[in-house]
């Protein structure tokens, strides 16, 4: 089929799923108890005030009209206005997005950089101390709730040893770029940024580090007994090349599959990590919006996350097809 057409097909499917997400988010408002009027109107509002507010928000119209309005506005990039702050929802949501992205990317980098070599070492030095250490670590990693890990890390590194800040996000990626030419000293900005990112990234990344290590280890053990491994050694290829270029590449195929299924956990984990570290990202925003019943923000955030999720899945599919070309032929 060709790589390009494969991606296109996935992209089209993705659009369909995003539409499904948007619809589900829309329906959400109607199946949960309470009404947006309660959020916006003051507690002692009279009936007329409530009626007026209902009309302003367009809540009196029939369902399908509200739905179509909603879709139409979305296509124009309009997510409505926050019930609480009256700022355009899209502005508020996209303002918070970079922080969450930073966290997710940092955690992913940590996870991949540590877990793949660890899994390979564990598989190739089976039953040696290195293997036992890696296996124990990964068992702990998938069994530890990430919010508790975060709190323990804060306890040790921030409270006891005062190495990292206990919470919050000092500067961001863009701030660091700006600081290259800007007024604040680059070094200070970058160190502050990284320092505030370390504990949250480790907290979010640990589960995945452990998971990937386990998968790489078991995958490689399986793969090392495949026929082509012996043949590749027989032609004199150095052992490290056999391991990394051949075996690991094929091992990563099922690993990527499982990771694709676990993306939801990554996003959910980000929400919780943000709660623990008061990290000002989309996750914190969602929790705030849930508690305050701020529907435009909630819906906007959920849509952004859902769309991001779909995009990530496409990326995973693309990676999968690159690693295993037989997928495209199916």
């Amino acid at each position: 089929m060709g790589y390009g057409r494969f991606l296109l097909k996935r992209g089209v499917q993705g659009v369909g799923v995003v539409w499904g997400v948007v619809t589900v988010v829309f329906i959400l408002r109607f199946i949960t108890p309470g009404s947006p009027i309660d959020t916006v109107a003051p507690l002692d509002a009279s009936q007329e005030t409530r009626q007026r507010i209902a009309e302003e928000l367009g809540l009196n119209q029939p369902l399908y009209i509200q739905y179509l309005d909603y879709l139409w506005e979305l296509l124009q990039g309009n997510m409505g206005y926050s019930y609480i702050s009256s700022i355009p929802a899209s502005v508020q949501v996209f303002q918070k997005l970079p922080a969450t992205l930073e966290l997710a990317v940092a955690a992913s980098i940590v996870a991949v950089v540590i877990s793949i070599p660890l899994g390979v070492i564990s598989a190739t030095r089976r039953h040696e101390p290195a293997d036992y250490a890696a296996t124990s670590f990964s068992l702990l990693g998938i069994s530890t709730p990430n919010f508790w890990l975060g709190i323990m890390l804060v306890l040790v590194f921030a409270v006891e040893f005062n190495v990292f800040p206990t919470s919050g996000r000092a500067y961001g990626f863009m701030d660091s770029l700006a600081a290259i030419t800007g007024p604040e000293p680059f070094f200070t900005v970058v160190t502050a940024w990284i320092a505030s990112l370390v504990l949250p990234a480790i907290t979010l990344g640990t589960y995945f580090t452990a998971l990937i290590t386990r998968l790489v280890r078991s995958g490689m053990l399986d793969e090392l007994s495949a026929g082509y491994v012996r043949a590749t050694r027989a032609k004199g290829l150095p052992e490290s090349l056999v391991r990394y270029k051949h075996v690991l590449r094929n091992t990563l195929v099922p690993v990527v599959t499982v990771l694709g299924l676990q993306l939801g956990t990554l996003i959910g984990g980000a929400v919780i990590t943000e709660a623990v570290f008061a990290w000002p990202g989309l996750g914190s925003e969602i929790i705030r919006a849930i508690n305050a019943r701020d529907w435009p923000i909630l819906q906007g955030s959920l849509i952004v996350i859902g769309t991001g999720f779909v995009l990530l899945n496409i990326v995973v599919d693309a990676l999968y097809a690159y690693l295993d070309p037989r997928v495209i032929a199916e």
């Binding site: 012996r230 050694r233 004199g236 290829l237 051949h246 590449r249």
Partner: protein, 414 residues
């Protein structure tokens, strides 16, 4: 029966023909499994000459594949080569190690089993290479065929560039370099020139449109084409010895003939020696100059094609040859060899000739371990592990036909 005593009578390479490129002596490979110790290869001797095709024939379970793997140190745990010498003729290698390891060098021959592991591994490709039975499971399904052949080319290229430090190739390619190579497009292990050579090799083995097919994946090739590609890969290193383990068994009959012809042509062109492992006597008859017959992990008879086919001494060889249907004089029934192959478990193998329990000419002499004898006095080539080389069969000393049933019953009571 415990491990055989190490053969340490004469140091240095065994005697043989001046054209020998490989001399194997007393090679033994054991598998240490939960069920017990399995003696897959038991004290095997043979030689391979320059430019010839040496066949190893036997049933499944006779140890022929494991012998091949043992030559190039590809036996995986729980198996291990436990004893033996593999003398390989390479003047440069001999010079390199003459001072360091004097016992491992004899003239132009080097005992690879005494070399450091890294050096032994470095021989794969430029000295020895292997073609396996099922091409589809012997190639990585997610890397193009051309790239995989180019790898073999590159192995050879780098070996030639560093003749005196063959160890260097096995080190220095870790995770760091892998990431670098993945990110920077031009820094792979292979290069454009090795890819071009790979395309040349594909053409040599008769694959049409080699330049295009080199960029395809193994699942896009047919079985026969893929086996040709494997042969191309095996020859990329310009090896002295090519080991072919049942190269045609997984292929259709018509393709088999093509592949065998290809092998023969290439072998003559490049003067490579071939060790042809098969259970198919037809293939042996077609391809080989000299033959070794394996049974239960031992070579029971070896010699030229004529020796083995026309004047076999060992009753097993006779049985094998006799099992070929003869179109000119077809018997109403075929003549199978009675019984089953032994299990190769160390504890069950008695200290005797392993074929005795199935042998129509078994005698009391056969109840002791049988060494290799020359088939005819002074014969250079034809050797057989059977007392019939020394004496005639006589009814008087024959073992009763139920001798082994009783022995097994006795053993069962222990």
């Amino acid at each position: 029966m415990s491990e055989t005593a190490p053969a340490a009578e004469s140091a240095g390479a065994p005697d043989g023909h001046p054209d020998d490129v490989l001399r194997v002596r007393d090679l033994s490979t054991r598998f240490f499994t939960e069920e017990g110790q399995i003696n897959a290869v038991e004290s095997v001797d043979f030689t391979v000459r320059d430019g010839e095709v040496f066949g190893i024939v036997g049933e499944s379970g006779s140890g022929k594949s494991v012998t091949a793997l043992s030559l190039i140190d590809l036996v995986d745990s729980p198996g291990r080569v436990t004893s033996g010498e593999v003398w390989y003729r390479d003047a440069d290698l001999a010079d390199e190690f003459r001072d360091e390891l004097p016992e491992a060098v004899d003239g132009d021959f080097v005992d690879t089993r005494q070399l450091p592991e890294g050096v032994r591994r470095a021989l794969r490709g430029p000295a020895f290479s292997m073609v396996f039975q099922d091409p589809m499971s012997s190639l990585n399904p997610s890397i193009t065929v051309g790239e995989q052949i180019a790898e073999a080319v590159e192995v050879q290229r780098r070996a030639r560039a560093n003749p005196r430090s063959t160890r260097s190739r096995t080190q220095g390619y870790g995770m760091g370099r892998l990431i670098a190579d993945a990110l920077l497009p031009n820094r792979g292990y292979t290069s454009e020139s090795s890819m071009n050579r790979a395309i040349e090799l594909l053409e040599q083995v008769g694959i049409p449109d080699p330049a295009e097919r080199a960029h395809e994946f193994p699942h896009q090739f047919s079985g026969g084409m893929l086996q040709r590609a494997m042969i191309a890969q095996a020859l990329a290193g310009e090896p002295d010895v090519l080991i072919a383990d049942e190269p045609t068994t997984a292929l259709d009959v018509t393709i088999q003939a093509q592949i065998l012809n290809l092998l023969r042509d290439l072998q003559e062109e490049q003067d490579t020696s071939v060790v042809m492992i098969t259970h198919d006597l037809g293939v042996i008859a077609r391809m080989c100059n000299r033959v070794g017959v394996m049974y239960a992990g031992q070579i029971v008879e070896r010699g030229t094609l004529a020796d083995v086919f026309d004047s076999p001494v060992h009753p097993y060889t006779e049985g094998l040859i006799g099992s070929i249907p003869d179109l000119d004089d077809p018997d109403p029934r075929l003549q199978p060899i009675e019984g089953n192959v032994p299990s190769l478990l160390d504890e069950e193998m008695g200290g005797r000739c392993f074929f005795a329990d199935r042998c129509p000419k078994a005698m009391t002499d056969c109840l002791q371990p049988t060494p290799e004898y020359d088939a005819e006095p002074g014969s250079d080539d034809h050797a057989v592990r059977c007392v019939l080389a020394r004496r005639e069969y006589s009814e008087a000393d024959a073992l009763p036909s139920d001798h082994f049933d009783r022995t097994e019953e006795v053993r069962g009571d222990e």
